[in-house]
C-alpha cells in the first residue's frame, strides 16, 4: 500500500517572497549610494537589533528557553573586541568573529549551570549570570574597569576598506566607516536568519520543536533533548557575541553598564520578538520596524517613552498573543518562512 502523497514545505507566498527577499538584499547592498549617512546609521541599528532578536527568538521562541541574560553575550563579545583591538591591535573585522567565539566559550559553563533550572528559574539564573559577567568585567582595569574605555582613534580610522569606500562614494572617512559597518550588519543579520531557517527546516528543527513542546515525550522517541538545548543556547550566544562586538565597534566607546545593559540588549529585544510574533522568523522583522517607528515617534516624550513601549507590548500580548505577524498571517494566509511539513494528496486515494 503506497500513498499518492508528497510532503511539501514551501508555499506559493514563500516562493514569491524568496525572489522578493533576494531583490531586497541586493537593494540593501547598494543603499549607501542613494541615502544619507543618518539613514545608514539608523539601518545599522535596525539590522543589529534584528540580528539580536533572531538569536533570542531561536532560544525562546523555537527552543522554549526564555532567557533574560542575553546581554551577557553582547557584553562579552563587545569587550573581547575592545581587548583584542585596543590592547593587541588585532584587525577589527576579524575581531567581530572572535567576539562570537569568546561568547560561545563562556556560554559553555553558563549552560552547565542554567540547564539545571527550568522555566522562570532558568530566566532568573540567566540574568544573575549576566550580572556576574558585568561585575567581573568592571574589575578589568586594562579595559577601563567600571568607567569603560574608548577604541584608539588610529584603529578606528584604519579600518580595512575605508579608503576604497571613500573613493567609491566620495564621502568622508567617518561616513565610509559607517557604510562598512552597515554592510557587516547586513551580512550578519542575513547570515543569522538564513542559518536559523536552514536549521529549523532540517530534522534537528523538528527535534527542537518537539523538545520545546514536551521534553519527556521527546526523549521517549529518541531525541537527545539536552544536546539540542545545548546547541540552541550556544548558537544564540555566538550570534549575540558577534552582534555585540559589531555594535560597540560602531560606538567605539564601551562601559560595563552599556555593554551589559539588560534594557537595551534583552528588554528591547524581547519587546521586538513578542510584539512581532514569537516563534516565527517573520515576527522579529515586523517587530523591529514597529519598534523603530515607535521609538522615533516617542523620542520627544522623555521617560514616558518606555511607559508607552510597555503599554504597546501589553496591548499586543492581550489582543494578539501570536504577535502582529500572527494576526497578519491568519488574515492573509501568508507564510514567508514556512516550516510545516504538509502532506499533500496528489490523487484520489483508492485504497480506502
Amino acid at each position: 500500500m503506497t500513498h499518492n502523497a508528497r510532503i511539501e514545505i514551501a508555499t506559493r507566498s514563500s516562493r514569491v517572497f524568496l525572489v522578493f527577499a533576494f531583490a531586497a538584499i541586493i537593494a540593501a547592498v547598494f543603499l549607501p549610494a542613494f541615502v544619507s549617512r543618518g539613514i545608514i546609521k539608523d539601518m545599522f541599528a535596525i539590522l543589529t537589533l534584528l540580528a539580536l532578536a533572531q538569536c533570542w527568538n531561536l532560544l525562546a521562541g523555537y527552543g522554549g528557553l526564555v532567557s533574560v541574560g542575553q546581554q551577557a553575550f553582547v557584553g562579552l563579545g563587545a569587550y573581547t573586541l575592545f581587548a583584542v583591538v585596543g590592547l593587541y591591535g588585532f584587525d577589527p573585522l576579524l575581531s567581530i568573529l572572535m567576539g562570537g567565539v569568546v561568547a560561545l566559550l563562556f556560554a559553555i559553563p553558563f549552560a552547565f549551570f542554567l540547564f539545571r533550572l527550568d522555566g522562570a528559574y532558568f530566566a532568573i539564573g540567566s540574568w544573575v549570570l549576566a550580572e556576574v559577567a558585568r561585575l567581573s568585567v568592571a574589575q578589568w582595569k586594562a579595559v577601563g574597569g567600571g568607567t569603560g574605555t574608548s577604541l584608539p582613534r588610529d584603529t578606528v580610522r584604519s579600518m580595512p576598506g575605508t579608503d576604497w569606500v571613500r573613493a567609491l562614494f566620495d564621502v568622508s572617512g567617518s561616513a565610509a566607516r559607517d557604510i562598512i559597518l552597515y554592510w557587516i550588519a547586513l551580512i550578519l543579520a542575513v547570515a543569522l536568519m538564513t542559518a536559523i531557517y536552514v536549521l529549523m527546516r532540517r530534522r534537528i528543527g523538528l527535534g527542537l520543536t518537539a523538545v520545546k513542546d514536551n521534553a519527556e515525550a521527546a526523549r521517549s522517541v529518541g531525541i537527545n533533548a539536552s544536546a539540542i538545548k545545548w546547541m540552541t543556547y550556544l548558537i544564540s550566544a555566538f550570534g549575540a557575541g558577534m552582534v555585540g562586538a559589531l555594535i560597540f565597534l560602531q560606538t567605539a566607546r564601551i562601559s560595563p553598564g552599556a555593554a551589559f545593559s539588560v534594557t537595551d540588549w534583552t528588554a528591547f529585544v524581547i519587546f521586538v520578538v513578542v510584539i512581532g510574533g514569537i516563534g516565527t522568523l517573520e515576527g522579529p522583522i515586523l517587530g523591529v520596524i514597529v519598534f523603530f517607528v515607535l521609538q522615533n515617534f516617542l523620542a520627544d516624550f522623555g521617560s514616558w517613552y518606555l511607559v508607552a513601549l510597555g503599554a504597546a507590548g501589553i496591548v499586543v500580548m492581550i489582543f494578539a498573543p501570536q504577535g502582529l505577524w500572527g494576526l497578519l498571517r491568519d488574515r492573509l494566509g501568508l507564510t514567508l518562512f514556512p516550516l510545516r511539513r504538509r502532506v499533500i494528496f496528489t490523487s484520489e486515494r483508492t485504497d480506502l
Binding site: A210, R219, S220, V221, G222, A225, R342
Partner: protein, 239 residues
C-alpha cells in the same frame, strides 16, 4: 535468555516504595498484560523500563544488554517504544510531524526515508483525516491513537502501552484492540497496562498483577483473575 528481564528492581520516593524487588521476564513476541489497583506502581514500572526513572537497586536487561543505566533517548534506539498514560503529543507540530519526529529520531533516519512509513502508520491507526492538524487541538480518541502511532513510528521491538484504552467507548476500544493485536502478530513484544480488562484479556497471553510495588501473581489471564490474591485486591474478599 529472556528478551526483557527485570531482576529485583526497586525504587522508592522517600518512604514510599513504588517498586519492591520486582522480577519479571518477558520472552520475545509475547503480549503481557499488567493490572493492579491505582498507585500499585504500574506506570513506575514502565518509567523504569524506558529509563524515565532510574532504579535504586536491581538490574534491567534487554536483548542480553544491561540497560539499567542507559538514558531514555538511547533506550529507544535499542528498541523500546512507549505510549504515555496521559497523552503527551508535541502540541505545536501536526499529527504527521509528530510521527516524522518520532520516526526520524527513533530510527536515526532522514525525514524522506521515513515519510512513507509514517503515512502507513497513520493509515492503520486511522489518523489520516487529521494528518495536517496541529496535535494540540485533537480530541481524546485521536490523542490516544497518536500516542500509539508515535510509539509505532519509532519501530520498537518492545512496545509499552500505558492505559491506551482508558476513556474510550466500546466501539473505539475494539478498533484499538485490533490494531494492538495485529502489531503483536507482526512480532512486536508488548507490555500493556490496562484497567479495561476485557480489552486486555482479548489480546494478552499472560497477565501480571502488581500491588504495592510487588508482583503478586502472574500467569494465564483467566487463572490469574480467578486467583484468591487478585480477588482480595479487587473485591476485598475475606475482609
Amino acid at each position: 535468555m529472556a528478551f526483557l528481564k527485570l531482576a529485583d528492581v526497586s525504587k522508592s520516593f522517600g518512604a514510599l516504595t513504588v517498586a519492591d524487588k520486582v522480577s519479571l521476564e518477558v520472552p520475545k513476541g509475547e503480549a503481557l498484560g499488567i493490572v493492579g489497583p491505582n498507585g500499585a506502581g504500574k506506570s513506575t514500572l514502565f518509567n523504569l523500563i524506558t529509563g524515565n526513572l532510574r532504579p535504586d537497586e536491581g538490574k534491567i536487561t534487554f536483548k542480553d544488554q544491561d540497560i539499567t543505566k542507559v538514558p531514555a533517548n538511547r533506550r529507544i534506539h535499542a528498541g523500546i517504544g512507549r505510549s504515555f498514560q496521559v497523552p503527551q503529543p508535541f502540541g505545536s507540530l501536526t499529527v504527521f510531524e509528530n510521527l516524522l519526529a518520532a520516526a526520524s529520531f527513533g530510527r536515526n533516519a532522514s525525514e524522506q526515508d521515513v515519510a512513507q512509513d509514517c503515512l502507513e502508520i497513520l493509515e492503520t491507526t486511522e489518523l489520516m483525516a487529521v494528518v495536517n492538524t496541529p496535535a494540540a487541538g485533537l480530541p481524546l480518541l485521536n490523542r490516544k491513537r497518536l500516542e500509539m502511532a508515535r510509539a509505532l513510528a519509532t519501530q520498537p521491538d518492545l512496545l509499552l502501552l500505558d492505559e491506551i484504552a482508558g476513556g474510550l467507548t466500546d466501539g473505539e476500544c475494539v478498533a484499538l484492540t485490533d490494531t494492538i493485536r495485529s502489531v503483536n502478530a507482526q512480532g512486536v513484544t508488548i507490555i500493556w497496562i490496562e484497567h479495561v480488562l476485557h480489552a486486555l484479556t482479548a489480546v494478552v497471553q499472560r497477565l501480571a498483577v502488581l500491588d504495592f510495588g510487588k508482583v503478586i501473581a502472574q500467569g494465564n489471564p483467566t487463572e490469574v483473575m480467578g486467583s484468591d490474591a487478585v480477588r482480595e485486591i479487587y473485591l476485598g474478599a475475606d475482609s
